[in-house]
Amino acid sequence: MANVGIIMRRELRSYFATPLAYVFILIFLVLANLFAFKFGNLYERGQADLQPFFWFHPWLYLFLIPALSMRLWAEERKSGSIELLMTLPVTLWQAVLGKYFAAWVFTGIALALTFPIWITVNYLGSPDNGVILAAYIGSLLLAGGFLSVGSCMSALTRNQVIAFILGVVVSFVLLLAGYPAVLDWFSSWLPQTIVDAIASLSFQRHFDSISKGVIDIRDILYFAMLIGLFLVATAITLDVRKAE
């Protein structure tokens, strides 16, 4: 477990050693606020909540998270540092988890830096802060889900651009699976049970229910299993392809 921490700290420091961290956080904050106020009409709605702010998180993450996760393994393989890491006395799992948690903590930092919008709604009215906290937890879980997909895509290739595109495409599929328009199309030719199964695979549905303030163990389990699944896939991919 100590090794996971050591690898995680190294990764996190690396984010901040390059402009990547600052650019990412800046773009995330600007877009998150822009979407909330401009398209979500956060202010004009006249309601003291952050729903319009969280609405856009899945779409923000769709592009921003793969941009963050694309380097996770592709860069290690490209530069050859994976050979160094894998010949140190660490297990493959410690490396996979250390790097994944670093990225997750980093998105957590970016998310936490949106706190002025929370202060704003509390200043303007009296929102239900329990719901807001739940939505933040939901958003963090959502980011973790996107990141696990991105980690796996990054392990597949040594090319970061390919890792980015794969990450966006797979995340997009997982996101869209919950949209009514997509589900309607499926239900026109598939039995309802399969349509429900597809819907239950979606990021969107589970995120929606948490961000409304309902923390259901099934939603938490969904994200835990999704993350676990993609991290196992990352480890298997690396085990097979690390030396290529």
Binding site: N3, I6, I7, R10, R13, S14, A17, T18, S79, G80, S81, E83, L84, M86, T87, L88, P89, V90, T91, K242, A243
Partner: protein
Amino acid sequence: MIKTEHLSKRYETLTAVDDVSFEVQPGEVLGFLGPNGAGKTTTMRMLAGFITPTSGKASICGHDVETDTLAAKANLGYLPEGAPSYGEMTVRSFLEFIADLRQLRGEHRAKRLAYVIGRLQLERVLEQTIETLSKGFRRRVGLAQALIHDPPVLILDEPTDGLDPNQKHEVRTLINEMARDKIIVISTHILEEVEAVCSRAIIIARGRIVADDTPAALASQSRYHNAVSLRLEHSEQLAAARSAIAALPGVAEVEMSERDVRLTALPRAGASILTALNELATRQGLKLKELHLESGRLDEVFRTKTA
């Protein structure tokens, strides 16, 4: 001890390492020689636990690299080919990171860090990021990383690649110093390096071991073993001297180089020709600038074995 038994690595269309077995004991410095693509790096990667053998076994200090991986890795200091590292880190934070993963703690950690930094002369670049360093410095950072936990076994893939002659000398001195109580395996294609540091050399070609002996014994397989090389004062004596030497009974062949006015007489198998040549030179009144007995040329053995 390093031990490999019938170690092989096959890819779909290619056998990179083919049934390689050897043992290395403490105190030995093993030079791994071979043309590019012969399987040196693949063998080292299997020993380091980075790639899995298709068949066969390898162990480091009794720990199987596949089943007891962490213990094997803990006993090993490894410099991968090209000395990869994390370019955005400073030398100091990189070495601290390695020290942490190597479980070095407290005073011991500080001492080991100070030792490798001093030994590889990294003080000047400690706060620089690794990507801004020259090739030579990066290689030294890679070596520092491999030495930091004072491992009983060192596997170094081309440790002096990219270093200038002074740095090469420095690294060879370091290897010689550590050789007494460690097992060291280096790969190189610089043959003078083998003679300078290795107590044993394995030549590998197309994935197979084609020679395994001391550098001196390998060199003695050369046709230049016991050859006599002489340099003349006057180039006009060259042609006459050549025919006179060729006529000597023990001489198989004479090579002539007009550029540095040199003749090299190759002996027939087992013959000793130094005395005869010396006498001939006196008799013919040849003015010699230099006369010496060759012990054999490793590069020639290398070419013959790997052709």
